[in-house]
Structure formats: structure tokens, C-alpha cells
Assembly symmetry: C2
Homo-oligomer: 188 residues x 2
């Protein structure tokens, strides 16, 4: 083990995101990330499996947080309302790092391989939500449809949140977007 | 150009699907596919870029068909109803090859790389639907949400259709699944 570095993970992630934004994801090396963060490559690899992981290590925490919040809602709640509570809570967490989220999305949008990875993570989130709903007694196809609706709302609200110059509140945007999904599916 | 082979594409696709099902996608070679179809490798490569393309060449036609049907609906129709017409028509086309669809899905489900490809194709379909809706005057986020809802319904209905032992009617399942999405998002 090397010596303890205060907030090494955060410094590495910050340095990586700057370099990906400046030079592109493909062109950036782990050596450059470590150097910019004032740390060693060895320290980088203690925190991340590879440079792609810098962009996706938050996904597991996001999924866990979504599932925990969903599981904490009363089973008497309508499934869509329980999912709404979970994605709003996730939105409130993500909101704490808007600039990081914005840079991350720009890096992903510029790279088809990273876009694929992002699609897989979103499909995994949807699958985990559906699984949790079934465990709570929701039958199919309602469980899968509610999960897909939740992820669609999350995706569209996220896109609005990071592109809106007024920097609207993300959980509030999630609520509005869900209302708009309800209106759209109802044919209004 | 080699000599003309009657329905070479169909024979190659059929042979490929049999081999993928029997031995797995990874283990199957183009030489084996051509041999089983009674054709040459050269003929294979006149029809497909690679062995993965056998599974996905229908996606472009599906997207074109979806967009054309959507564009053919009256602009006065609610966007969700126009999208429903488009995905039901696509379902009616796909329904003509249920066994092919079932085998194809089993091959994809067994291979993470193919699953990624499938997710990308579905995301592309959703993007194309949203683009067409915007062109027809639907504003955001309604266009993206309606497209996402349509693709979610298509995915879930497809899963039901290929797994249901009663071999239900696919367009009918799409209609029912859309009704279930409406009920789920409304919190009923």
C-alpha cells in the first residue's frame, strides 16, 4: 500500500474529466491523469480499474441508492409513485455535481463506445428497478413498464437539467417530466 | 459477380441462426454458415458485412418502416396514437417470422456484445421516432418521452410475444401493453 492521499479518488476523477474534455477520452492516458492529480499511476489503479471506470464508477452507487429508496417506500404506494420517489432522490444526489455531470455527458456523447456503456448501465438500472418491483408484488408487465417509464423520465429530465442555462432543480425537473410522460401517454 | 442464387440471403440467415442456436454465436464461422446454406463464403459477404450483421440487418428496414408509417398518420392524431400505429404495423411485419425472432433473441440474450448492439439499435429507433415527431411539430420533451414510451412498449410486448406459449397476436399484445403502460404511469 502507498501512503494515504487525501481525497485521491476525487482528485483523480477531476483530473481525468478535465483531460477528457481538453484532449478527448481516447487521447488521454492514465499517466497524464495521475500527473495532473499530483498522484501516481499506482494510486490511480487502486481507485479505478481503467480510465473508462472514472466515468462509470458512480453507476453502482446510483443503482444501490435507487433500489434502497424504492425499497423504503410504503408498499401501498402506486409503483410509479414509488419509482418517482427513488429517481427524485437520485436526482438530488446527482445535482450536487452538476459541472461534473455536464462534462461527463459531453465526453460520453463524443465517443460511441462510451455511449454503448451508458446504454448498458441504463438498461441495468431499469432491470434492477423491475426486479425490485416484482419482489414487492408488482406483476408483469406492469413492473417492467413502470421501470422503463422511470428510466425514460430520468434520461429525458437529465438531458434537460444539464443543458438548461437556468440550471433548474433536477428533482423538480424529474417531477415535471413524469407529469409530461403521463400527459403524453394519455394522448393529451 | 457470382451466379444468382435463389433467396441466398434467406438461406444464409436461416443457416446462420441454426448454427448460432446449436453451437453458439462465437463458435460459428462464416465458412460453416455458407456450407450449411449450400453457398460460398463469397456469396455470404455479398449479403452480410459479417456474421453479426445476420442478426441486425433487419433493423434498418424496421426503422424505415416505423418512420414511414408514423409519417403516414394524420398530424391531428395524438403523438402516442401515431406511434402506436407505427409500432403495431412493425409488429405485424415481424410476426411473420416468429421462430426466427425467437431464435434470434435467444442468441442475443446469450452474448453480452450482441445485447449491447441490440440496445444501440433500440436507442437509435427511439431517436428516429423522436426526430420524426419533432419534424411533425411535437415539442420537447413530449417528442422524446413519446418515443421512449413507444420503444418501451415495443420491447416489453416483444418479450411477451416470443415467450408466450399461446403465441398471441403481436400487434394485439402491443395494444394491450400500451394500455398497461398508460395504467402504470397513471398510478392505477
Amino acid at each position: 500500500m502507498g501512503r494515504w492521499e487525501p481525497n485521491a479518488r476525487g482528485r483523480l476523477a477531476q483530473a481525468a474529466m478535465e483531460l477528457y474534455s481538453e484532449h478527448g477520452f481516447e487521447q488521454t492516458t492514465v499517466a497524464e491523469i495521475a500527473k495532473r492529480a499530483g498522484l501516481t499511476e499506482r494510486t490511480f489503479f487502486r481507485h479505478f480499474a481503467d480510465k473508462r471506470e472514472v466515468l462509470f464508477w458512480g453507476s453502482a452507487a446510483l443503482q444501490e441508492s435507487l433500489i434502497n429508496t424504492l425499497d423504503g417506500t410504503p408498499e401501498s404506494a402506486a409503483p410509479i409513485d414509488a419509482v418517482a420517489v427513488a429517481i427524485e432522490a437520485a436526482g438530488a444526489e446527482i445535482q450536487q455535481g452538476r459541472e461534473f455531470s455536464r462534462q461527463r455527458q459531453a465526453v460520453i456523447d463524443a465517443n460511441p463506445e462510451l455511449q454503448e456503456r451508458e446504454l448498458i448501465k441504463l438498461a441495468s438500472l431499469s432491470g434492477a428497478l423491475a426486479h425490485t418491483l416484482r419482489r414487492r408484488g408488482v406483476t408483469e408487465p406492469a413492473a417492467s413498464l413502470t421501470a422503463e417509464a422511470g428510466i425514460a423520465v430520468f434520461k429525458v429530465a437529465f438531458e434537460r437539467w444539464i443543458t438548461d442555462p437556468k440550471q433548474l432543480d433536477f428533482p423538480q425537473l424529474i417531477r415535471e417530466t413524469l407529469d409530461e410522460l403521463k400527459a403524453a401517454t394519455a394522448g393529451r
